[in-house]
């Protein structure tokens, strides 16, 4: 027996209520739960009983307890919305694997950047100019401002890339969420600098340029590659739906 549109919507609501908020995780779980329910109904089970059993098969519990407001007694909750630890674990595992994939991809792009002679040429010229300017105390404040601002601007551009590639499909996607997280972390570097040093030496800026420039380039390339990959998947999903 095939499930009706209404029953499919019910399963989707059930997943959303159990905090499976990312669409790219939910589509797979929705199909799994729906197909298994269809099989179980075929074997004589009811929709509700099948859903309860599947809920538990994913590692979720049917019962939870919490203290009341006055912390005087336990309130027990027994339903398919009582506990979502199984789904939470599944999302965390997927998150771990995606992050591992992004790290691997960043490393591959970093190697590619290091193998590019043009990168070394530009990197060397900019680095040498910075060194000379600071050594002869010319335009030091200007250079400091440029490096400081680029630490804000480049990660901000990186974060905007996925939205430029696939604006409509960018909401509630675990893949894009994780892809932009590393850029957000890089944006905090200027804050950390200001917290640690009130007036950082110009050499701190040179150090930041030499260490972060290759990483920022590799990360931008990685974000472009994965945004393209995501867009392809999103379009496949859109065409199929």
């Amino acid at each position: 027996m095939k499930l009706s549109r209404q029953q499919i919507n019910f399963i989707e609501d059930y997943l959303i209520k159990n905090k499976v908020k990312f669409w790219d995780v939910r589509i797979e779980l929705l199909d799994h739960v729906a197909t298994e329910i269809e099989d179980r109904i075929q074997q004589g089970q009811t929709f509700d009983d099948a859903l309860k059993e599947i809920h538990q098969a994913f590692g979720n519990k049917m019962r939870s307890k919490k203290l009341n407001k006055n912390r005087t007694e336990w309130i027990f909750n027994e339903s398919i919305y009582a506990d979502n630890s199984g789904y939470k674990k599944l999302i965390m595992e997927k998150q771990k694997e995606l992050n591992r994939g992004f790290r691997k991809s960043l490393f591959t792009n970093l190697l590619m950047v290091f193998k590019n002679p043009l990168f070394w040429l530009i990197y060397g010229i900019v680095g040498f100019s910075l060194f000379q300017s600071i050594q002869h105390a010319t335009n030091v404040d200007f250079i400091k401002k440029i490096i400081f601002l680029s630490l804000f601007i480049i990660p901000a551009i990186q974060m905007a890339i996925p939205f430029l590639f696939c604006f409509k499909g960018s909401r509630h996607s675990l893949y894009l969420n994780l892809l932009t997280t590393s850029s957000l972390m890089l944006m905090n570097i200027p804050n950390i600098m200001l917290y640690w040093w009130e007036r950082p030496s110009p050499w701190v800026y040179v150090f930041l340029y030499t260490t972060l420039a290759p990483i920022l380039i590799a990360q931008t390339l990685m974000i472009i590659q994965h945004s393209k990959k995501y867009k392809q998947f999103y379009l496949k999903w859109k065409r199929a739906s």
């Binding site: 199909d31 729906a34 098969a57 994913f58 599944l90 997927k94 694997e97 199929a240």
Partner: protein
């Protein structure tokens, strides 16, 4: 199988082998195929299957396809070129492991 820990290390190889034979499969289909082939002896739990599939996908061994089935969307997994090569290696490793285990558990018996 009472002790599911025994097959956990081989789960990704089982998935790769099935995909190599079937072409493309979706999550629930994999669990049912394993159940059918082992006559219900081996049951892959959902909590173990999806992390394994996501790991293989992140490693670049699996590719995904989306298709509309009935009134919902289905995510199919299939082997990439790299995945096909890796399946051969992992199967050889698993066969070697089974052979060694046989030697340890029952030295007189040999699968060859």
């Amino acid at each position: 199988m009472a002790n599911s820990k025994l097959y956990k290390g081989s789960l990704s190889t089982i998935i790769l082998k099935l995909l190599d034979e079937q072409g493309k499969m979706y999550g629930y289909e994999i669990t049912q195929k394993v159940k059918e082939l082992t006559k219900g002896e081996l049951k892959i739990t959902e909590g173990a299957l999806y992390p394994a599939l996501h790991k293989l996908e992140a490693e670049g061994l699996l590719d995904v396809e989306v298709a509309k089935v009935d009134n919902r969307l289905r995510k199919y997994y299939k082997l990439t070129e790299q995945g096909e090569k890796e399946t051969v290696n992992r199967l050889a490793e698993l066969e070697e492991f089974i052979r060694n285990m046989q030697q340890l558990v029952n030295p007189k018996w040999n699968i060859q």
